[in-house]
């Protein structure tokens, strides 16, 4: 690349900030003639390189002696694949292998660690499940996170796993305001208050809703919720349209709803369905007027759950988890009149190539990968796969040598009117309230189409992303530059399924969840909503599908 004349660096830097943070922040950050030096850091993970080579047709073949036999191969070691493996082990079934592309399992629930603390690279909290989510309650009991149940049979979670106060705060005009939701109370008008009340009443009416079969409108897992037409009609319009129809125009209410959609779906209220928007607010509320289910969190975020799964797999004594292996081909075949599946995987250099002859495969990767990975996938299934859309995220972890000056850091720290989601504090849950810490900064790229966002994501390098994170955080913490010792950036091209209108209750989703020959599918995209509970549900469901097909007797835990 040609070296830019130095006089161009200023405007270019400002252009990047203006595009990603808006003009005022860019101007504020660009005021200083010479930007402060950036900390150390780099772009980490996700291995887009080998993924793109496979997409572009790389198909290595294993040597004759490099074939192994396994009854089941699980493709993908995110929450869905790990949950499937966990479910198989629960049935005493261990004739399987799980293949994961990355050197660490977990997918978007992955985590990292510094000398100071573990920290999340993606999903970082989990609402306490209601008692009806039996499988998840069972998992959390096994993890000793759920310690018992209360008089209503609702799970009781160990105090240290629930998010400690102060949970959340929001930064607006040079001050932090404690909050319980991403809603700014300071300075709200009478009309804002009235609209907020109307919005809560709308949500509560959906919390109270029961269909003819007694099902909630919004349940977790979604499969437990209602498919009544009055509910599914919400999937045909955007959340923003729904709000306009209800006359909910308060800017701060809209900002809260947008924040919720960006937080769980990586897209604004314009781009997700009203069903998904209301799901966020209603699915975690047991009773109208009641509180939402409390959240659980760990320093490494949902990486804690990943660690549990990985330990279970390791404690089997067999090599059930194989990391750093990219699956290049999943080929349904007939062998001696019996249907089976061949799976070919290779390391990132394409040197070591392994083949597995399996009876069944659990394809626990996102649907968009299926057309490249599954050999001769029929056209209608390719069409199904391409109907899913995925949101695009940048996540940065900032290692700080000390806390920013000012009031006590909350767990979740929101910057009002920022395109980012703010940051979470990794040391919060350990009770370490002084000294060095790690902040995890989340930035969903919501502008434009997902495809365009992906181009922006990958076209923006480490330096520019570091500038974005520091300029954005600098609005609230003017000492951030002097505190950050390291800043690593993760670019998630396909972070989570995007529940745009028609995704959750369209015709594609149930069809995509059907097995194709001997390949079962498991991924949160099959739920339409990329939350841990759904990935877990899809993994367990697929594992039970495979167990049944395999003739293993095991009552459903779902």
């Amino acid at each position: 690349m040609a070296k830019r004349p130095s006089w161009q660096i200023g405007p270019t830097r400002r252009d990047v900030l203006a595009t990603l943070l808006g003009v005022p922040v860019a101007l504020a950050a660009g005021c200083s003639r010479k930007p402060p030096p950036l900390p150390e850091g780099r772009i980490v993970g996700a291995s887009a390189g080998i993924g793109h080579r496979l997409r572009d047709g790389l198909r290595p073949q294993p040597a004759e002696g490099a074939w192994q036999e396994r009854a089941v191969v699980i493709v993908g070691g995110g929450i869905a694949g790990l949950s499937a493996a966990w479910r198989l082990l629960l049935a005493g079934f261990d004739d399987f292998v799980l293949l994961e592309l990355e050197p660490r399992p977990g997918g978007t629930s992955g985590s990292g660690a510094s000398d100071v603390s573990a920290y999340p690279w993606g999903a970082h909290y989990l609402p306490v499940p209601m008692r009806e989510n039996r499988a998840l309650v069972r998992l959390l009991r096994e993890m000793n996170v759920i310690e018992g149940e209360d008089k209503d049979g609702e799970p009781v979670v160990g105090e240290q796993y629930l998010i400690r106060d102060q949970k959340e705060r929001i930064f607006h005009r040079d001050a932090w305001h404690p909050c319980e939701e991403p809603y700014l109370h300071a300075g709200e008008s009478g009309e804002d208050i009235a609209q907020r009340k109307r919005f809560d009443a709308e949500v509560d009416s959906w919390v109270n809703f029961r269909d003819g079969k007694g099902r909630r409108a919004f349940a977790i897992p979604i499969a437990r919720g209602s498919d009544d037409a009055t509910v599914t009609a919400l999937d045909r319009l955007s959340m923003a349209d729904w709000m306009r129809r209800k006359g909910l125009t308060s800017p701060r209410l809209r900002w809260m709803v947008d924040y919720a959609c960006r937080d769980d779906y990586g897209a604004t209220a314009e781009d997700v369905s009203a069903w998904a928007g209301l799901f966020y607010f209603a699915a975690r509320k047991r009773k109208a007027h009641g509180d939402s289910q409390p959240f659980m969190a760990w320093p490494e975020g949902n990486g804690r759950i990943v660690r549990h799964f990985a330990e279970r797999l390791r404690s089997s004594g067999k090599e059930l988890l194989r990391l750093g292996l990219a699956v290049s081909e999943v080929g349904p075949v007939e062998r001696a009149g019996k249907p089976g599946v061949e799976v070919i995987a290779c390391d990132h250099e394409g040197r070591q190539v392994i083949g597995y002859r399996a009876e069944r495969v659990i394809f626990a990767a996102p649907q968009f990968v299926a057309p490249y990975a599954i050999r001769s996938l029929p056209r209608e299934r390719i069409a199904l796969a391409s109907s899913f859309d995925y949101s695009v995220w940048m996540v940065a972890n900032l290692e700080l040598k000390d806390r920013p000056a000012g009031p006590f850091l909350a767990w979740d720290n929101i910057l009002y009117e920022s395109p980012s989601l703010g940051y979470v504090v990794a040391t919060h849950q350990t009770g370490t309230d002084y000294g060095p810490t790690v902040l995890t900064y989340y930035y969903p790229l919501t502008a434009g189409s997902a495809r365009a966002a992906r181009t922006t994501l990958l076209g923006t390098g480490w330096e520019e992303w570091a500038e974005v994170a520091l300029a954005d955080l600098g609005r609230a913490h003017d000492d951030i530059h002097s505190l950050v010792e390291r800043l690593d950036v993760m670019r998630w091209g396909h972070a989570m399924p995007r529940p745009k209108p028609g995704t959750v209750w369209g015709s594609e989703r149930p069809k995509a969840a059907q097995p194709y020959r001997n390949v079962s599918f498991a991924h949160s995209d099959l739920s339409g909503v990329g939350i841990m509970e759904e990935a877990f549900y899809q993994g367990v469901r697929a594992a039970e599908e495979v167990l049944a097909a395999h003739g293993v007797k095991s009552a459903t835990i779902l």
């Binding site: 105090e159 240290q160 629930l162 998010i163 400690r164 106060d165 102060q166 949970k167 409390p294 000390d402 006590f408 350990t430 009770g431 370490t432 309230d433 002084y434 000294g435």
Partner: protein, 521 residues
Amino acid sequence: MNRSFFLFLNVLIIATCGLVYELLAGTAASYLLGDTVFQFSTVIGVYLFAMGVGSWLSRFIDKQLAWVFVEVELAVALLGGLASPIFFLGHAYLSFFQVVLYAVVFLIGTLVGLEIPLLMRILEGTIEFKDLVSRVLAFDYVGALIASLAFPMLLLPSLGIMRTSLAIGIVNALVGLWATWLLRPQIKGSVTALRARAILVIVLLGVGIVFSNRLILFAEEGIYADPVVFTRTTPYQRIVVTRGTGGVFRLYLNGHLQFNSVDEYRYHEALVHPAMAAVVSPKRVLVLGGGDGLALREVLRHPNVESVTLVDLDPGMTRLSDRYPPLGQLNEQAYHDAKVRVVNEDAYIWVQKAPPDGRPFDVILIDFPDPHSYALGKLYTTHFYRLLKRHLTRDGAIAVQCTSPFMAPKTFWCIVKTLEASGYRVKPYHVAVPSFFGVWGFSLAKREEDELKVPERVPRDLRRPDGTPVRLRFLNDDALKAMFVFPEDMQLPADEKVEVNRLDNQVVVQYHEAEWKRYVR
């Protein structure tokens, strides 16, 4: 006549200023180092000796006497005016503070010692020698009287130690400036440069007065009743010590009073001895918080105690007794006792580990600041109290400081209820500590499977670490029993409900904030 009268007035003023510097140094030294008699004796001694040195040195000055006199005035003005800032900043930031103290005292003394001999030689020949000596010395001693009366009655109360120093420095510089006119005939050459320097000194000290409130060291002077004598900002908190009349001092953390040396014994005897009395022959004691060392002092009075572990987040607190010696005197040098082991760690993190040497403690004394922040609120949660059980022997006792049951009843009863919800039997109690808005509250607790009775007897045979017997100043058997009786106005009103404090609700922080803001600021 007119001119010599003004020169005698000059003597009066410089004598006043000179003595004020001496008093300032003595006061600052006793504020900062304690032990008033010792500090005043040594400061006066060094100062007078230095004056002698100055007088002796005057014989080496043969030329330009008037010019030198003005120079000396300006030097005294500058050094004396900045004496208080030098003392306080030096104490805050230097470990060899005493060297600075006595060096400054010696220099000022030497310069002041030059003044009178020089002036007498300037006036020599204008009047008879016997009149000269009698008048100069008379004015000198009158000035001393004025200074010794004005300093404690007028200057210190109205200006404070910092601004007194700067203001007297300005007066001294004005005398120097004035002298350039009075002594103009004696000064050879131009006086412009001399006057310019005098004005510079005046402006400099004036700026000092204007910004004296802004000096970070004394930013909080206005919010405390007494002069601030020690401050330190640690990574965890701001430590401030103020000192009132009669050697009384108070310690504040982030603006919250921790103790007043006048009545802290009531608080610390009440914190320590009931729990010690509730256990048969306690040997291992744990103190959480309590970096001032005052609870340690009470623990060390029990000769049977073999070891005390103190866990305090802030090394700035556990080392304060060395940085601020009056505290070391108050806690009877508890930190120098071989039985004491100090751990500088957040108690919340520390309790999550196994007890040191794998052995739990017979008595645990919890002396944290009130739960006025989330960082402190976590130390009052069910999770914390449950973890603490790992560190407590069977039949061991815990005492917890629980804020005031009169000022903050919800906070107080919330802590009691939280202890109960964590699996303890609890006996709340209280004691009058006048400096703490009257009443202060505590809880005595044991595991719920153990028996907990109100102790009836104060421990006997208490000794200082050197073996000399010591009597408690507040507690006796009757006072001990009375502490556990709650009058009506310290009960939780029947219509008030308090919740248990948990990590994920931290109600105690909210209660504390709501209740205390009715009384404080």
